[in-house]
């Protein structure tokens, strides 16, 4: 449960989710990970530390370079936590609510 809490915390930030998406395509060097973000490298380092603490990434030194790779098993904890039917009903109720919101907007026009 403790790791799940760490994982949920780690993926609660859009930058960290973007880093995960980037790493899902394969290992990358620190500067490659940081490149798409318009933030200080120091901030990226902090995001990576949080991801590492949650067990979501690994760092590996290859010669003079450090490569960062995704450890997807931690994310599996999240998929276990959210049941298939929870996603199904959330989608359904979003559509249902959306139907009435659209009706409400068209009445106001």
């Amino acid at each position: 449960m403790e790791q799940l809490t760490d994982v949920l915390g780690a993926i609660s930030h859009p930058t960290r989710r973007a880093i995960i998406k980037r790493l899902a395509t394969g290992p990358a060097r620190f500067l490659d990970v940081a490149e798409p973000f318009d933030v200080a490298l120091n901030a990226i380092t902090k995001h990576l530390k949080l991801l590492e603490r949650a067990g979501l990434i690994d760092r590996e030194r290859r010669g003079r370079e450090v490569f960062i790779s995704l450890r997807p098993d931690g994310l599996r904890l999240v998929s276990e936590w959210v049941h298939e039917y929870e996603r199904f009903w959330n989608r359904k109720l979003d559509e249902f609510e959306g139907h009435f919101k659209r009706q409400q907007r068209s009445k106001k026009r």
């Binding site: 993926i11 609660s12 049941h83 139907h99 009435f100």
Partner: protein, 140 residues
Amino acid sequence: MNNPKTIEVIVERTIPTSQGEAFDAWLNPKVPGTPWNMAEKLLLNPTVDGLFFWAIKGMPHYGRFLAVDRPGRIQHTWMSPNTSGLESIVTVTFKGKGKDTLMTLVHSGLPDTSGGQSHDKGWKFFLDGFQSQLAKSGAA
């Protein structure tokens, strides 16, 4: 079957309409978001002991209405390939909240498939954009 582990899913929304309208809409297959909407084949008899059948992408769903108490509560059983032979129960309640309606859907008696085949779907779902679901679950 040896008392399989089951779980309960609870989803809540505030619907911008009256309790009666929300109740009626939930039983109207033409309304988006209802379980019956978009079905390829649909049989629906929303009375106590009335049955429903719907199929989407060839996946059949069956159930029996246990309660149809306008405007407050609808309850029916729910069986599909995803319930692994278990008769799960869906209870939808509608409570007036000013001009709106607080709608609560409880799906209980679901087999805990998290250790099984839903893994792959969950994983793919995450990579496709898990963020919004997490936000709804209050985790983000």
